[in-house]
Symmetry: C2
Subunit: 153 residues, 2 copies
């Protein structure tokens, strides 16, 4: 897999957490995502700042979902993990004297701007609650219990 996996990972975690009452430790989440507890804390710090989760230290501590899944969109999560530019097509100088560069920059900005706008709009249209509903359908169709579904990734 290439690029930034933070959004994907955090959605994964949030979906699980929104369906359980007990806190998850960074260790557990790291196993769930196939990564390291420090990476989990680092990434989830953004979710905490956004108010989506809380963390408690010490024995019995861990991460808890403390918000309303119907109000959190994928865009909210995307922003909370501190993602930068999603579209990697750079234009050159931002204030070019060269007319050629100005024409090129403008054409590229048109295309990438619209694509990025669409992406953010789509992310903003989907809530965690909607994903959870989709998950219900899968669990039911395959006779799964979310708690015991396999977790290779």
């Amino acid at each position: 897999m290439r690029g930034d996996s933070r959004l994907s990972r955090m959605l994964h975690v949030l979906l699980h957490m929104a369906r359980h009452n007990t806190p998850f430790t960074s260790e557990q989440i790291a196993k769930m995502l196939g990564t390291n507890p420090v990476v989990v804390r680092r990434t989830m710090a953004g979710l905490r700042e956004a108010g989506f989760v809380s963390s408690e230290r010490g024995r019995g501590g861990g991460w808890s979902f403390v918000s309303d899944p119907t109000t959190i969109t994928l865009l909210d999560v995307h922003r909370s993990v501190g993602a930068t530019d999603v579209i990697a097509l750079g234009s050159g100088d931002s204030d070019p004297a060269c007319g050629v560069e100005r024409v090129v920059n403008h054409a590229l900005a048109e295309a990438t701007g619209e694509a990025e706008a669409i992406l953010l709009r789509r992310l903003g249209e989907v809530t965690l609650a909607e994903l959870s509903t989709q998950l219900d359908a899968i669990c039911k169709a395959e006779g799964w219990d979310d708690q015991h579904a396999p977790h290779q990734g």
Copy 2:
């Protein structure tokens, strides 16, 4: 500037070349782009394979535009430079057993897929000839001759 600048740079070069008859050396192009002749050759090799330009070795050699600007779209150039995924939002495992991951992957693929489709469509709708026409307008409005316009970038 962040990300991949190859498309931007190659459009810059192609626009210049399409308006002149003499070949450009890698050295000249490198100065134009603020980079290195080797980078120019490396990137323009893709344009040559696509049939948009040709290169000649030895004294008096260099790069020449050998195609029709009305038939080359920005998408053609984008593809010829060997660009990979433009949208950097990765999903996790491509064939996950975990239902949560399947739901997340699907939601992200929907959003990024549509954004990428829009981007490619837009790039495919603009030809080099159209950019050249826009450039004519700028040159005329500002009393420029393309040959002598400044080239800081």
